[in-house]
């Protein structure tokens, strides 16, 4: 059995590596979705905003500095006319005006920081509203808006014991679960590992099975003295090998470059999760390959399944924040367990879901091997039954 499985796996991997079309079919969807993650990372960042500074006194200058230091927007200095034109032409998402009378108004507690916002879409317009409000608050209550020196902050779990008095009568003691923040790109990269394992494992296996069916090799294999289980295991091993090849070729350089800062004790868990993800995804690939008759249909179904599994399983989102029925649907995909397991291993102090995540991913792989072997044997059984009749 092992000899047959090894031969099938070797044949699949060789065919995959030697065929540019197969390589492209496997890599391009993953590459496209990775580029999508990068585009998303860029798109959810800062917004361009015009700054019209009419006042030039000390309060105006302080406000200007606070606004410039804000990570909510890219500030561009404009005259009022330029700002109006830039807003109209969509060069900026909003225009903030520091009024000419800000000094007198602020002294009489009647100052305003004006912001005109292109509220075409709630996501970025709310970002600007929050950032402008934070800037205004920073003027009277720097500690409330996180503008104080870092030595005075309470990052890393230290709790501020006494409030600093401010006119808002509320002070903030912010505690961050980790220090420093996890860059958004690194957070999103975790799902890219799962994506690579998913697309490579799924498509390599599905395409090799469908290719065998289309070329008639599957019928010849059915006559060979090899068990169906060995054939399916061979396809599964090929998919796992391809998936692991791709994920490690991204993971190792990132880890060596220090972009992924997991504690050394976590790496075995990460490796096990990636291997289990590859097995789970490859298992789905076995089923996709057996469900389709033509390679073109296999690609379409494979891409549908891969994108559904990736996006529903937490590729771009945090599943725990979705409505309960969507969380339940996400649990039907192998990506959910892969992404959750990898995020736990890389970013959290505890890994309560490790055993469950590994178990479910392996179960995906094993059950698909059993179903795959049964599906492969089915045509033979049907032929025998027809002959007996």
């Amino acid at each position: 059995m092992i000899r047959v499985a090894f031969a099938v796996a070797r044949c699949d991997v060789a065919r995959w590596l030697r065929s540019p079309t197969l390589l492209a079919a496997t890599l391009i969807p993953a590459l496209g979705m990775t580029l999508m993650v990068l585009a998303l990372t860029y798109a959810v960042g800062r917004q361009p905003v015009a700054l019209v500074q009419l006042g030039h006194g000390p309060t105006a200058k302080r406000l200007e500095r606070i606004l410039r230091e804000s990570d909510g927007f890219w500030l561009k200095p404009y005259t009022p006319e330029q700002a109006a034109r830039a807003l109209r032409k969509q060069w900026v998402a909003g225009a903030i005006t520091i009024p000419a009378d800000i000094e007198e108004a602020a002294a009489g507690n009647k100052g305003h920081l004006d912001a005109l916002i292109n509220n075409v879409d709630l996501d970025f317009s709310d970002d600007i509203r929050r950032s402008v409000s934070k800037a205004a608050v920073s003027l009277d209550a720097p500690s409330l808006a996180g503008q104080e020196d870092e030595s005075e902050t309470n990052l890393g779990g230290k709790v501020k014991s006494r409030p600093e008095a401010n006119p808002y009568l509320v002070d903030l003691s912010e505690i961050d679960l980790r220090r420093p923040d996890v860059p958004f790109l690194i957070y999103q990269m975790v799902s890219v590992f799962a994506l690579l394992a998913l697309t490579a494992g799924l498509l390599v296996t599905a395409l090799s099975i469908a290719g065998d069916r289309e070329s008639g090799t599957l019928r010849i294999l059915a006559l060979a003295p090899a068990s169906r289980l060995a054939v399916v295991c061979g396809h599964l091993a090929a998919g796992v090998a391809a998936a692991m090849l791709l994920t490690t070729s991204l993971l190792v350089p990132l880890a060596l470059a220090g972009a992924l800062n997991a504690p050394p004790s976590r790496w075995p868990a990460i490796a096990a999760l990636l291997l289990a993800t590859a097995m789970g995804s490859t298992g789905v690939g076995v089923l996709v390959g057996l469900a389709t008759r033509r390679v073109t249909t296999t690609v379409l179904l494979g891409v549908n399944v891969a994108s559904a599994s990736f996006l529903l399983g937490g590729g771009f989102t945090t599943v725990a924040f979705l409505p309960p029925f969507l969380q339940a649907a996400a649990r039907a995909t192998p990506t959910y367990y892969a992404v959750e397991g990898l995020r736990e291993a890389l970013f959290y102090t505890e890994m309560p879901g490790l055993a469950r995540n590994l178990g479910v991913l392996l179960a995906f792989g094993i059950s698909s091997v059993v179903i795959g072997a049964w599906l492969l044997a089915r045509p033979m059984r049907q032929k025998n039954a027809a002959r007996l009749k």
């Binding site: 496997t26 990068l38 060069w91 970002d127 205004a136 409330l144 559904a308 529903l312 725990a320 970013f347």
Partner: protein
């Protein structure tokens, strides 16, 4: 010319029948855009109202006023009342983004003009959400101060909107997803039907026909575009009835689907003629379209992402499609170019790509 049209018409009819008789590919092309539409909306679902644990240690008017301010802080918090232990547990397991703890004595402190200290714990693993809630906290405090008419505040934010009403993130993204559906369905089917001519070897035979391969391919592309328009219409129906996005200009919506699909099918046909193999068509088109979709104004007007990405977005029909769909659904202008020019570019792309398909087919 008449013969050419007759041949193209016959080819379109045959292709349509072929799609109906072997529906696996056609059905999957129907499913893929709807699949992507539904799944992309998940991203928008978690883009605002971050799940936040609310630990309220006293039941007083000012504490509730502060909670209301948090709730009204620009769609930032989805407040879930719980005790401190549960909040800590959920935070450490990544089930909530933050926890706000309003201490005992809050009302008395604020009432007597002293400052109350509110504990705010943030899971800063997802920086996008963490930054949203960090900015939202001072915004909520500012709202709280305004509602309580606190006197000693020197500068307050005065926010004015350009448009009469906001458009929700999901509604915005759903409208742009119709353009994604049109591009994906059109380009994949266009690519598959043309590449199949070479893969099946019929292209060689067609060349011997008196009218050549060009009209046949154009006919096949027309059938593919028709099928893709149907697939995109299903996505549009899901958006209008499922996501309850009103179609402000229904005729424009239909026109936008047709123009985008035709341009995408012609471009897909071009890819099919160049590759002459069906296998890489779907991955290639999906791989190119998805990043271009996000770089097409799908999440916000594209110019906000800078000049390079703005000009790059013009390479994809998705940019023009999104511009049309946002106006058709919400009446929003999200491109600096006028609306008619978006249709014109799509028509121009469709015509020139079809001409190129015909020309390359003769080689």
């Amino acid at each position: 010319m008449r013969t050419t049209l007759r041949v193209a018409g016959a080819a379109a009819r045959v292709q349509a029948l072929s799609l109906l008789r072997s529906p696996a590919t056609a059905i999957l092309v129907f499913i893929l855009p709807v699949n992507l539409l539904l799944l992309m909306s998940l991203f928008a679902l978690t883009g605002y109202n971050a799940p936040t644990g609310l630990v309220l240690e006293e039941d007083t008017p000012r504490a509730h006023a502060f909670v209301d301010s948090l709730r009204d802080a620009y769609h930032s918090f989805d407040l879930r009342p719980m005790d401190r232990a549960q909040a800590d547990r959920l935070l450490r397991r990544g089930r909530i983004v933050a926890a706000v703890e309003i201490p005992r004595g809050f009302d008395a402190l604020v009432g007597s003009g002293r400052t109350a200290l509110v504990r705010f714990t943030v899971d800063n693993v997802n920086l996008d959400m963490a930054e949203d809630v960090r900015r939202a906290f001072p915004a909520a405090v500012s709202i709280f101060a305004t509602r309580l008419s606190l006197p000693a505040i020197s500068v307050r934010p005065r926010l004015t909107d350009m448009l009469a009403q906001d458009t929700g993130y999901i509604a915005y993204l759903a409208a742009s997803s119709i353009a994604l559906a049109a591009v994906i369905a059109g380009a994949i089917l266009g690519g598959l039907v043309t590449a199949r001519e070479w893969e099946a070897g019929t292209a060689r035979l067609m060349r011997l026909a008196p009218c050549g391969l060009g009209p046949v391919l154009i006919g096949r592309l027309a059938a593919a575009a028709g099928w893709a328009a149907l697939a995109s219409s299903v996505s549009a129906l899901v958006v209008v009835f499922g996501f309850r996005v009103p179609a402000a200009h229904p005729i424009e919506l239909a026109g936008g689907i047709v123009f985008t699909v035709v341009a995408a099918a012609a471009l897909g046909g071009l890819v099919g003629v160049l590759l002459r193999r069906t296998l890489p068509i779907t991955p290639l088109i999906l791989g190119i379209t998805l990043p271009f979709y996000l770089d097409s104004g799908a999440l916000e007007p594209q110019r906000f992402d800078g000049k390079v990405l703005f000009w790059l977005s013009h390479l994809s029909p998705a940019y023009y499609g999104v511009g049309i769909m946002e106006h058709a659904c919400h009446g929003l202008i999200v491109t600096p170019e006028p609306l008619w020019s978006l249709y014109a570019v799509l028509a121009l792309v469709a015509a020139s790509a079809t001409l190129l398909v015909g020309k390359l087919a003769r080689r």
